[in-house]
């Protein structure tokens, strides 16, 4: 561990869990309006409706909340880009198109506590002076769509949505929109295209959505978790939120642990927590095994290894080891996993999900899969590794949007850390791993 990392770890303000969004998950029927209200829900809304919209924006700015969808753009600043002198309607769009392999935070949040999002939508829309908001939910998760729809219906019935909300004179309508099954629609401009009924492909920027987004009107697009964090900021104040996390990555976030860990799940903790701490909380790597590699924020963030266990999981910390915090989707793989096989699976995903708009991503992922699957079968030569790296170099930063960039992350990082394992596939004429051993039931079968 480098000295710098030690310092950062030491500078962290807290290392305990901070359940805010997840606080009521364990309650009986936590998704119901009654439950949410009983636990203080929609209290922040009244407070917000009594504030000047600009003051809410200021509070969110002061809190230091950064976008929870992966890029980490300051949320309050994004809101302040909305030109209020533009006569067109303003829109809030919530990106709930959670589709990245490993990422699993918005889906459980919306299942367990949809009202925190609804309340966040109302406050955020009020702040940016939008009278219409859209929640774009990934099309495959029908159960979540139903639950969010039910929550919105409950909110309408309770007078939290619709005309003259809480007697404030403020009107807001919320539309829950189901996607049609495309990872690319998580990219904000492709999402807007899809929302407008067009083919989901990213748009040329500028103009940025803040100026000309949905229906060419000023639009704020935020991740579910970002918007869901707003009620707590309004309720408890910016300082409360800023007291958590690290200097530049403030507040809390949901860390989802999956893979070879004893208790996979969502752990809400301040940014800056380390994987070592989270694994402890999750009961450790599955028994008898040790961590081999992991992704900090889903499959499009360069993977890390056991040597990075103490990297603070905030935007700066993860960036300092050449990866990205992303969506805090911590996928953990132990030594039974073949990294080549894992990377191939991810690459197949990107090939399947490439929208086709730009050449590097469309053709590059097609070729990457072929090169990788040959390597996985032990076909090829050492120079094919350089070819892979060069292909990635020709995709990264050359594609239209970040999907192509993400496709290269697992490949380049895995070759960086596990070059020898790739070569073993070639020298041994195939994969040296037994894929069955990496399954969660492999050990149980062995014991039985």
């Amino acid at each position: 561990m480098s000295e710098q990392q030690t310092e950062q770890t030491a500078g962290r303000t807290t290392n305990t869990l901070t359940p805010v969004l997840t606080d009521i998950w364990a309650d009986e029927q936590s998704w119901k309006l009654d439950t949410y209200t009983r636990r203080g829900g929609y209290r922040a809304l009244d407070k917000a409706l009594g504030m000047a919209p600009d003051d809410i924006i200021t509070a969110v700015k002061d809190s230091g909340l950064r976008g929870r969808g992966g890029a980490g753009f300051p949320t309050g600043m994004k809101w302040s880009f909305i030109p209020q002198d533009n006569p067109k309607p303003k829109y809030l769009v919530v990106n709930a198109d959670e589709s990245e392999p490993g990422t699993c935070k918005d889906t459980p949040l919306l299942m367990a506590n949809p009202h925190v999002l609804v309340e966040g939508v109302i406050i955020s829309s009020f702040a940016i002076r939008a009278n219409k908001a859209f929640i774009y939910v990934r099309g495959e998760i029908v159960h979540v769509i139903r639950r969010v729809q039910a929550a919105v219906a409950e909110a309408y019935a309770a007078g939290h949505l619709g005309k003259d909300i809480h007697g404030s004179g403020y009107d807001l309508d919320v539309v829950v929109h189901a996607g049609a099954g495309a990872y690319i629609c998580g990219e904000e401009t492709a999402l807007l295209e899809g929302l407008e009924g067009r083919r989901g492909q990213p748009r040329l920027r500028p103009p940025f959505p803040a100026v000309a987004g949905l229906y060419a009107s000023p639009t704020v697009i935020n991740n579910v978790e970002s918007i869901a964090s707003v009620p707590s900021i309004v309720d408890n104040g910016a300082a409360w939120f800023a007291s958590m996390g690290t200097e530049k990555s403030k507040g809390f976030g949901i860390f989802s642990l999956s893979g070879h860990v004893t208790r996979p799940g969502q752990y809400e903790a301040p940014l800056g927590v380390t994987l070592r701490e989270l694994i402890d909380l999750a009961g450790g790597i599955r028994e008898g095994h040790e961590l081999k590699f992991w992704t900090p924020g889903g499959s499009s963030t360069p993977l890390l290894t056991a040597e990075h266990l103490d990297v603070p999981l905030d935007f700066e910390g993860v960036a300092s080891v050449k990866s990205m915090l992303g969506t805090r989707a911590l996928q953990l793989f132990d030594e039974t996993t073949c990294v080549v096989r894992a990377v191939l699976r991810w690459t197949e995903f990107y090939k399947h999900e490439s929208c086709g708009k730009c050449t590097p991503c469309r053709e590059g992922t097609w070729w990457l899969v072929q090169t990788l699957s040959n390597l996985e079968k032990g076909i090829g030569q050492e120079s094919d590794l350089d070819l892979l790296v060069d292909q990635c170099d020709n995709i990264l930063g050359r594609s239209f949007c970040a999907l192509g960039d993400g496709a290269t992350s697992p490949i380049t990082s895995s070759i960086q850390f596990f070059r020898d394992e790739y070569l073993r596939h070639l020298t041994e004429g195939g994969c040296p791993f037994d894929p069955a051993r990496s399954t969660l039931f492999a050990d149980e079968l062995e014991m039985a």
């Binding site: 495309a182 690319i184 083919r199 492909q201 040329l204 090939k351 399947h352 999900e353 490439s354 929208c355 086709g356 708009k357 730009c358 050449t359 590097p360 469309r362 053709e363 590059g364 992922t365 097609w366 070729w367 072929q370 090169t371 040959n374 076909i379 090829g380 094919d384 070819l387 060069d390 170099d393 020709n394 995709i395 930063g397 050359r398 594609s399 239209f400």
Partner: protein
């Protein structure tokens, strides 16, 4: 590679004061260049001669940044900071102080481009040797200039994605999906330029492809343009596919002969045969687009029934006789003798001529026949129109107060009256669409019977006018403030307006009153040129009025004549009537189709009554079969000439082929005139041009068109209007669709298959009353066609395409504007 065409010097005659454009200075590959702000880097680089490779970029389409071939390194975006990643130069506007390094100076940019090129070839088949595009393929060319010699994909055992070879996306366009690099040029063209988004991207990733909706082919009048702008061989022409290689072709610039737009085209030929036609580039006229008719409609040139030798009729005792081949000299002599014996002769040259040929007809009538009985209008006309043409149209042109394409773009409002631009003037339609897509865009008002698809695509407003009521509608236009007719308005009147009494006068009055600018848009390529050349009973060449003594002296002197007749001659309708009544006995006729004329039966009767007919034509027709002497004339490919656009812009072109089988009309007429002992003073096209130039335009007074009251007692060949308007029934609205049964579309069944179907447009009430199949009966016959509802057509109006079924509306039904009855028909 598609680069921006160099702008020709602005020749438009409008008082457009050049707006000072703010410029910025950028450094590209170490060379400083000053360009207008918002210029894209890829265009700025062109300014210093650096061509950045590109596929999706097209100067006339909105940027998309899809292919990523044009990546460049930008070490300084103008703010002192560089971009960390290579940028697509086709989407990046310049900024002052920006520094750009292209593939020529930046290893990063060069590698990025090579990488993209390698990716593009991953799934591109290696079938260049059998691909239509091979040899003129931007992908092939740029793979050589900016790609690597060896394919790492193949050597690493890569497997290409395959698709079954071509599928047709319309009868004229085939799609080879394997070759497609999904640059979206075609889909963007379809959506942006003509507004026909019938092709779109479907599927995703490497499976992404161009597709059509099931059962909805790419039926656009402009579909062929996508073949031309496709940067690979994915979109090919059903007509041209596998017929030639680009490097075997010789290209000759030419001008579209199918309408009055004067579109620049390129004729690609091999061994004396046209293999294909492409759009030329002319920023002032058609930019880079042409209609499918201009592109594919050339097979009439090689039709089986092309005349290839002169013929003369051997009269037998009973007066009948047969046509037999004759030598040119014999035919000249027989024609001259026949005309001399016939005495009074009329001249109907038709509207398809070059200016040079039209001038020859004009001169032939006056010099050889001593008459003003010459009229290019082989379609319904009126005396009002004759007067209008002489006063408001002739001699106006770019630089002389004439409306230009550029004026359509800059006008705040364009009024269309008697003109359906998509059907009748494709280049005008495209320019208007470009104008209406701008912000703030040009507003289009159409005085018409109903809102056409074209009007919807122009986001235009209908000023409803039943046939015959256009004058009233035009009068009302000037009175309503919300129509905003003023100095920056352009009024385009179509030739059809001649059949609506008072309409042309009302248009002229509207222009005079409001300061709006006026232009006349004919349908045929030769119409405007014929007007300038004096193929009108009231006009001599150069717009000189027959009634002006000075003008007559001018022309008579130039032609070496003592004098010219002082009174105007007969117009086309009067010539037809005079032939039937025996006042005229001879007829010299060019490319006139009886079914196009105001009264087809009357024309046929005149042909029978004439004692001597000389016909000049491309192909064997009803007219040549009835003629006494038939001369084959040269097609547009076989002669030099000039078409004049609706703007009044001369569009000269040279001969593509030397073909001894036919002579230009001018040479034929000169030959006859010489046999008559009254030589025209020219034999060749250059000699005609010299004479035209010497004569020059008229600079004296025009005969004013009386605009005082639009209710001029016009004697119209659509004379039925006034009489029958009170008689109930339905008013007949009609015009020719772009693609129909016109003889110049003969021979290309692919093209004809894309024509819009023949149907009757009626109001919902009429449809309700009479059902989906209607029988229309007029004073000339009956036609039965399926019906379609037009939302805003009046209940007592029906619209029928003029030449899409049978012998056409004029022959089979009634004259435009007259009343027809409608009954339901059994399927």
């Amino acid at each position: 590679m598609t680069t921006t065409p160099e702008k020709t010097a602005q020749s438009s005659g409008t008082e457009n004061t050049p707006v000072a454009v703010k410029t910025v200075t950028v450094t590209i590959d170490g060379v400083q260049v000053e360009v207008p702000e918002n210029t894209l880097v890829i265009r700025a680089a062109e300014q210093i001669g650096v061509q950045i490779p590109r596929f999706c970029d097209h100067p006339l389409l909105a940027p998309v940044g899809a292919c990523r071939q044009c990546l460049v390194d930008v070490p300084d975006a103008g703010n002192g900071r560089g971009f960390p990643k290579p940028q697509a130069s086709c989407t990046l506007p310049v900024a002052d102080g920006m520094v750009v390094s292209t593939q020529l100076t930046s290893p990063v940019a060069d590698k990025a481009q090579q990488g993209v090129m390698e990716f593009l070839l991953v799934n591109h088949p290696l079938d260049c040797p059998v691909c239509d595009k091979g040899g003129e393929c931007p992908l092939q060319n740029q793979a050589l200039s900016n790609g690597r010699g060896e394919s790492r994909f193949s050597t690493s055992g890569g497997v290409k994605r395959t698709f079954p070879k071509p599928i047709s996306i319309s009868p004229v366009v085939l799609l080879d999906r394997e070759r497609c690099i999904v640059c979206q040029r075609c889909t963007r063209f379809a959506e942006e330029i003509p507004g026909d988004p019938f092709i779109a991207l479907v599927e995703r990733g490497a499976q992404q492809q161009i597709g059509i909706a099931e059962g909805e082919p790419f039926y656009s009048y402009f579909s062929g343009n996508v073949i031309q702008i496709c940067p690979v061989g994915a979109l090919t022409s059903a007509d041209y596919r596998f017929r030639s290689r680009p490097f075997d072709l010789v290209s000759t610039p030419a001008v579209g002969e199918h309408d009055a737009c004067g579109s620049a085209i390129r004729v690609d030929h091999r061994r004396g045969k046209v293999m294909r036609r492409l759009s030329g580039e002319d920023a002032e006229v058609n930019e880079e687009w042409i209609t499918d008719k201009d592109r594919f409609g050339f097979h009439y040139l090689t039709a089986e029934d092309r005349l290839t030798y002169p013929q003369v009729r051997d009269r037998s005792e009973d007066g009948a006789g047969v046509l037999r081949p004759a030598s040119w000299t014999e035919a000249f002599a027989v024609a001259a003798r026949g005309l001399r014996e016939a005495g009074a002769t009329g001249v109907l040259p038709g509207g398809r001529l070059t200016v040079e040929d039209a001038y020859a007809y004009s001169a032939f009538a006056r010099i050889a026949l001593g008459t003003h009985d010459v009229d290019f209008r082989a379609r319904p006309l009126s005396a009002e129109e004759t007067s209008f043409l002489g006063a408001e149209v002739v001699l106006r042109g770019p630089g002389g107060g004439g409306v230009t394409y550029a004026d359509l773009e800059s006008a705040s409002t364009v009024v269309l009256a008697g003109l359906e631009p998509e059907d009748e003037a494709g280049a005008i339609f495209l320019r208007l669409r470009k104008a209406t897509r701008r912000t703030p865009g040009t507003r289009v008002l159409a005085v018409a019977a109903y809102s056409t698809r074209a009007l919807r695509k122009l986001h235009g407003t209908l000023v409803q006018a039943a046939p015959g009521e256009e004058a009233e509608a035009l009068q009302s236009l000037g009175t309503r403030a919300d129509h905003g007719i003023g100095k920056d308005t352009v009024v385009l009147v179509g030739e059809r307006l001649a059949t609506s009494p008072g309409a042309l006068t009302a248009a002229a009055a509207l222009a005079a009153r409001t300061g709006a600018r006026l232009a006349w848009v004919p349908r045929r390529a030769g119409d405007r040129g014929a007007l300038e050349a004096g193929c009108l009973p009231t006009l001599l060449p150069g717009g000189r009025p027959v009634t002006d003594a000075g003008a007559r002296v001018d022309v008579a002197t130039a032609w070496g004549l003592d004098s010219l007749p002082e009174t105007p001659g007969r117009d086309a309708d009067q010539i037809v009537a005079a032939l039937s009544s025996g006042e005229l006995r001879g007829l010299v006729v060019g490319g006139v189709d009886p079914d196009d004329t105001a009264e087809p039966e009357a024309f046929r009767e005149a042909l029978r009554a004439a004692s001597f007919v000389v016909a000049l034509d491309l192909r064997e027709t009803e007219v040549t079969q009835a003629a006494d002497v038939v001369f084959p004339v040269a097609a547009v490919t076989d002669k030099a000439g000039t078409f004049v656009t609706w703007e009044g812009r001369p569009r000269p072109f040279e001969a593509v082929f030397t073909n001894p089988q036919a002579l230009p009309d001018s040479r034929v007429l000169a030959g006859i005139a010489e046999e008559l002992g009254r030589p025209l003073g020219f034999r060749t096209v250059p000699e005609v041009r010299r004479q035209l130039e010497q004569l020059g335009p008229w600079d004296g007074e025009r005969v004013a068109h009386d605009v005082s009251g639009p209710e001029t007692s016009a004697t119209s060949s659509a004379g039925g209007v006034a009489d029958s308007s009170a008689s109930g029934g339905y008013a007949l609205a009609t015009w020719k669709q772009l693609l129909d049964l016109g003889t110049m579309q003969d021979g290309d069944e692919h093209l004809r298959a894309t024509a819009r179907p023949a149907l009757v447009r009626v109001s919902a009430a009429t449809y309700e009353e009479h059902g989906p199949l209607l029988t229309l009966t007029g004073d000339r016959g009956t036609i039965t066609l399926p019906a379609e509802v037009a939302a805003d057509i009046a209940d007592d109006v029906v619209w029928v395409p003029a030449r899409s079924s049978g012998r056409g509306v004029l022959a089979d039904l009634a004259s435009p504007g007259s009343r027809v009855t409608v009954t339901g028909a059994q399927a």
